[in-house]
Subunit: 345 residues, 2 copies
């Protein structure tokens, strides 16, 4: 048997390498760089971080990945560009668009596209419509693209359900559930879900916007936008999940009766009728994690991802895999539903 | 509660209507027209069919849908264009690209985009690479797009699995299973799967390319292309499913021991290693139909669509929903993995 390919054409062989830089060198940023470094279509040209302990260091030193050569951490975009101008920047620093905007705007204005993990960038028209318009203009002025993505938001509770509706003649309602075992996740996430707090305190922090999962309303708004549903109500609630036994992870310690996670629900209504529910449970020691979605329509669809899409590894993959699709799109502020179907790259 | 939308922007409101025509007025073509007629973004301008019994008739008469006004069946593209030039034609007439090509080429050359149910158009580079190159050129010359899509091929055994890999750092293998209860499907499909034939005769007809499901190898090739896997082998087998009891549907009658459906399997290898399996069972009285997919990777994913994506209704929806996404893409021969993520429109 010869190894002649059955099909000759191959999209990535003709691809010139994408010059990539990393904005934000926290744990997700480092993992993004390390995954990007494994891709034959990526050339890593540098990083940006404000931490004086990181500025000037080689990326190989910071990531522990010696395959990343001749690239180091710059304190500013200008310094990075003076050395080597990337085609695309992975941006993994903040959840709020207000903070992300001041970081991303100069990048796209310089003609460099951005793929960001900023949760509010998934559908910036929801919380920051004025900034969305300004960012779209900055992208077009610079000939660049900006996209917010990830696993949640960015895939399991928005893009994947939307994808399923592609074979529907009609969609009456969409119900999505996600259960995450937070014990398998990174420390900051275990804290964000309230681990160890008195339940009333966690719920107060959620009400103040200081705890909870960012991006659930954003996922709902992206789905509604994609289906042209005009939501007249988009309501979010969050309750503490209370530990039934003492729990100890590598990062936190929780006593029975304390918060060990969250149960966050978003309901979207059209003409006062419930058309969308997004139900997220993220807690320590959750058994049988899963992602599920029911499309009530013609045909109705009932999807289950047993085990769910677990881990920060998937978030990093979503960012890196999006890069080639983003660069093929027209300049502007992009939504995940504007670009080509997700795919391993 | 006022009905002010939560989010202002809305993609379909700014859309001018898409002028649509239908090529081929068999059962699928008629259902496509009827679904398209329900969409506020569609204006139906006419149909094309060679059947003298249909030429000249009003589409409202042929479809039984009186909302389709002032549009009738033409015998040729030229006659249709002389009356009203569509932006897009739904093409639902044949499975083989050789036959589809002579119908589609003049349409795209006239600057009219095509969304087709032709199974071999899903990934024409597999069976007809020369025609694929010619069709791509005709599209670009005319400023039009051509896309092959549907449910299978076009979604459950190709695009949906590809979409899942979008959150994977690595993909070792993809295994896909589909079980269809053919008793719920149209007559031609019940015959195509061999209903009522002696099993040996059905398997002989499959070997001759005269029976079986069209598009399974095409789905595998699209996945491989999307993941940049160079398949060195793409092997297809098909066995008859033998009736364990007498079966009678509206369309066929099958005695115990006769063929009541098919079990068709495609295996794709990279460097002689199995990386892809597509396992399709389509038979009368199949219990518990489903669509399932396992991604062996990082993370591994295990998807189940209970009940599956059933029925010709979904095929028609896939065609109609693709239209706006196709028109937003650059001119050329398109793959489902080139255009925006599927979505109800």
């Amino acid at each position: 048997m010869t190894h002649q390919p059955v099909v000759r054409n191959n999209q990535r062989n003709d691809m010139t390498k994408i010059k990539v830089a990393q904005f934000g060198l926290g744990p997700i940023g480092i993992e993004t760089l390390k995954l990007a470094a494994t891709k034959p279509w990526v050339e890593i040209v540098g990083g940006i971080d404000i931490d004086p302990a990181k500025v000037g260091k080689m990326l190989s030193e910071i990531t522990g990945d010696n395959s990343i050569r001749n690239a180091h951490v710059h304190r500013s975009l200008e310094e990075l560009i003076a050395r080597a101008k990337p085609d695309l920047v992975f941006h993994t620093s903040v959840s709020r668009l207000k903070e992300a905007y001041v970081q991303i705007e100069p990048i796209v204005r310089a003609g460099i596209s951005v793929v960001s993990s900023c949760e509010e960038l998934l559908f910036p028209q929801l919380r920051e419509p004025e900034l969305a318009v300004k960012l779209d203009k900055a992208c077009k002025d610079g000939g660049a693209r900006a996209l917010g993505t990830g696993v949640n938001p960015g895939f399991v509770m928005d893009v994947l359900p939307v994808c399923l509706t592609g074979v529907c003649r009609n969609v009456k309602a969409i119900h999505i559930q996600r259960v995450v075992n937070a014990s398998t996740r990174r420390g900051p996430l275990q804290k964000k879900i309230g681990s160890g707090l008195p339940p009333a305190e966690f719920e107060r922090l959620f009400a103040e916007g200081k705890a909870g999962h960012a991006g659930l309303k954003d996922s709902a708004a992206l789905i509604a936008h994609s289906l042209s549903w005009k939501l007249n109500e988009l309501h979010e609630t969050c309750k503490a999940v209370v530990a039934s036994h003492d729990i100890r992870t590598r990062h936190v310690e929780v006593k029975r009766g304390q918060t060990c996670g969250l149960h966050q629900v978003v309901v979207g209504k059209v003409n006062d009728e419930v058309r969308l529910t997004l139900d997220l449970k993220m807690y320590l020691d959750a058994q049988n994690p899963y992602d599920a979605c029911q499309i009530d329509g013609e045909p109705s669809l009932n999807m289950m991802l047993n085990g769910g899409v677990a881990g920060d590894a998937a978030t990093v993959a979503a960012l890196v895999n999006a890069a080639p699709r983003v660069l093929k799109a027209q300049p502007g502020l992009l939504l995940m539903t504007d670009i080509a179907v997700p795919s391993y790259m």
